[in-house]
């Protein structure tokens, strides 16, 4: 077995002449993320995996979701406008209210 890293480096120096495969990534706020993505990247690490309560499929009022995200009640972290924009949060809160329960999620 060979390190994938070693294999890639060898190929890289052939194809790219040793030039690093570098990128200048654009800052990420230009396009608002879809609610599903925000949920997966943030909420879903706690909610539905035995850490926080299940929040999908419970018709949560959007005003409550938006308040919770910004204030971080109890043990929940708070999320700033620089992490989840107001526009993303509006969409997330609406999506969450209308979401179906996910049978794969685990509550506690």
């Amino acid at each position: 077995m060979i390190f994938r890293f070693i294999a890639l480096s060898a190929v890289g120096s052939l194809c790219l002449g040793g030039v690093a495969l570098a990128s200048a990534q654009e800052a990420e706020e230009a396009t608002p993320r879809a609610p599903e993505q925000v949920y997966a990247e943030t909420c879903g690490y706690c909610h539905g995996v035995n850490v926080g309560p299940i929040i999908r499929g419970r018709n949560l009022p959007p005003v409550i979701t938006k308040s919770f995200v910004r204030m971080g009640p109890n043990s929940m972290p708070a999320f700033r406008q620089t992490e989840i924009t107001d526009e993303e949060l509006d969409a997330l809160a609406t999506w969450l209210e209308q979401s179906e329960a996910d049978p794969e999620e685990r509550g506690q």
Binding site: R4, A20, A22, A27, N50, R70, P77, Q81
Partner: protein, 536 residues
């Protein structure tokens, strides 16, 4: 389905209505010599630099900046504003304005330093400099295994980038990896769980906006045309990168780091020991394996109570108000496949190197009285899964569950004294910690992180922050731990914003004076993060 009941929702509605009260709180506490009008004038200038959408000083917008888990019964540590630049030039303009207005600013990267202060400044009246919008991954070199990132990049973002581009490099995460930033965690000298776990060891090159507004690059970064900024740490002359960690001497706007090549073979292990008294035997067994690098990653030696607190509530182990006795903990641990101490490490390499090392570590650790367990025995045990994920740079937030161990109030403060990796010292530390925690009515929810030659005793002080009396008790308890451990020669490697001065005192007057002289020379107006690490 507890945790989101009618009472919680009503509480939230009450909190929404209480925003006006919050405004009075934050506006009441300005920095020395500043008035509300001064802050207002400064924030209007911030708007002109970053745009109206990214300068905040009304109560509602500041709420997420004020979230804390640490005990702070004096209730003085609140930001008075926040400003979120997008570019280095904007950071320079903000620093220039802060000097003119004498307005202190508190830089954060992603502000998720949970249990150490999150985004909250160490003194009243500061404006948070929120660098989250500076979130570009500037370069990843798959040949060298290096990256250059901005402060707002999260571990999640970096991992996604590597996977999307099929680059076979790992990241190394702290326990709040998805939300936290490599820059922020490294600058606070945080640790993770792969062989690249001591994050500052694997940092290489910084760009720093100095308090006078100049931009400095460390190491090889100031050499025009150099390709070695992320490869060679030292440059020439004094090595200064460490001056910008746990300090307030500049604002780091770019940071280089080394990334570990993904190994062909990865095998996680758990060693289960049955008794609280097994502490010295485990450490004595582990030390030679760590010092020789046969085991190359930072081991976590987790007490049963720490492990239980992640996924369970205290009242499922003992009745409310009862002490957390060892017999009850042991029963709950056994029911969940855990011992009183659970030590996690992994082997990394090829199938051949893992097969060669495994018998050696098995022999040593079995002789220490532990059961050597792998995925074969542990299956989908959630605790094993948690650590197996972390030790390969995987992301989860399981440990946030700890803040729910005791009531709903979300109180957490990490106390992390350091010692050499010697079993006898750890045994004495455990006795002292339990004595102080028992005295104040708190639980010993602790772990030892066994480094290359050191031992971090990671004690999670868990309390109900919604109970004012309990918060006061937690504060007293924490301070007693700092001072009594300090007298034994065990000082913290890191602490929360509420106790930075207290921990700095442990390190002595000469060190403090040295830090103060550097501060005075670089930042004579003391506008960058006064109070950080006890440096005014």
């Amino acid at each position: 389905m507890s945790g989101l009941d009618r009472r919680t929702l009503l509480g939230a509605a009450g909190a929404i209505g209480a925003a006006a009260g919050f405004a009075r709180t934050v506006n009441a506490q300005m920095a020395d010599g500043q008035t509300a009008a001064d802050v207002d004038a400064f924030m209007r200038e911030m708007q002109s630099i970053v745009g109206e959408d990214w300068a905040f000083w009304n109560a509602e917008a500041l709420r997420p900046y004020d979230k804390a888990y640490i005990p702070e019964p004096s209730d003085q540590l609140h930001p008075v504003g926040a400003v979120a630049p997008r570019t280095v030039e904007e950071v320079q303009a903000i620093v220039a304005a802060a000097n003119r207005h004498r307005q202190p600013i508190w830089p954060i990267s992603t502000g998720k330093n949970m249990g150490y202060g999150t985004a909250v400044p160490a003194t009243p009246g500061q404006v948070v400099l929120d660098l989250k919008r500076m979130n570009r991954i500037l370069e990843v070199d798959p040949d060298l295994g290096t990256a250059l990132v901005e402060p707002g990049v999260t571990y999640q973002q970096l991992k996604d980038y590597l996977e999307e581009n099929n680059i076979p490099l790992w990241i190394d995460v702290p326990t709040v990896g998805p939300l936290a930033s490599p820059v922020g965690n490294t600058l606070d000298r945080g640790v993770g769980y792969t062989p690249y776990g001591e994050h500052f060891f694997f940092q290489c090159g910084m760009e720093v906006v100095l308090p006078d507004g100049q931009v400095m690059r460390t190491g090889m970064g100031s050499i025009k045309g150099s390709t070695a900024w992320q490869s060679f740490k030292w440059g020439y002359g004094p090595s200064v990168d460490g001056l910008f960690t746990q300090s307030n001497y500049g604002i780091v706007t770019k940071m280089g780091m080394w990334l570990m090549p993904e190994p062909p073979a990865y095998k996680p292990f758990m060693i289960r020991h049955p008794n609280m008294e097994d502490v010295p035997a485990i450490i004595e067994a582990m030390r030679p394996l760590r010092v020789s690098n046969l085991i190359a990653n930072c081991n976590l030696m987790m007490s049963a109570s720490y492990q239980l607190s992640m996924f369970q509530r205290r009242d499922s182990v003992v009745p409310n108000g009862a002490p957390l006795d060892d017999a009850s903990v042991k029963r709950a641990a056994q029911a969940n496949g855990l011992g009183m101490w659970n030590t996690y490490f992994a082997l990394y390499g090829t199938d051949e190197t893992v097969a060669a090392i495994e018998p050696i570590v098995r022999q040593v650790l079995t002789a220490s009285g532990g059961e050597v367990l792998t995925e074969h025995e542990m299956g989908d045990n959630p605790w094993f899964h948690h650590h197996a994920t972390l030790m390969k740079g995987g992301l989860n937030l399981d440990e946030i569950g700890m803040a729910r161990w005791r009531g709903n109030g979300g109180g957490l403060a990490w106390f992390a004294p350091v010692a050499a990796a010697k079993g006898a010292e750890a045994e004495r530390q455990t006795v002292l910690a339990r004595e102080i925690l028992d005295k104040h009515g708190f639980d010993y929810t602790a772990a030892y992180a066994i480094g290359w030659r050191d031992l971090h005793h990671i004690i999670a002080l868990l309390f109900d922050r919604s109970d004012a009396e309990e918060e006061r008790r937690a504060d007293t308890c924490y301070r007693e731990m700092v001072t009594r451990f300090g007298k034994q020669g065990w000082a913290s490697y890191r602490t929360g914003v509420n106790t930075m001065d207290l921990v700095a005192q442990q390190y002595g007057a000469v060190n403090r004076e040295f830090n103060a002289k550097i501060k005075q020379a670089l930042d004579p107006n003391h506008i960058i993060a006064p109070g950080k690490s006890g440096i005014a």
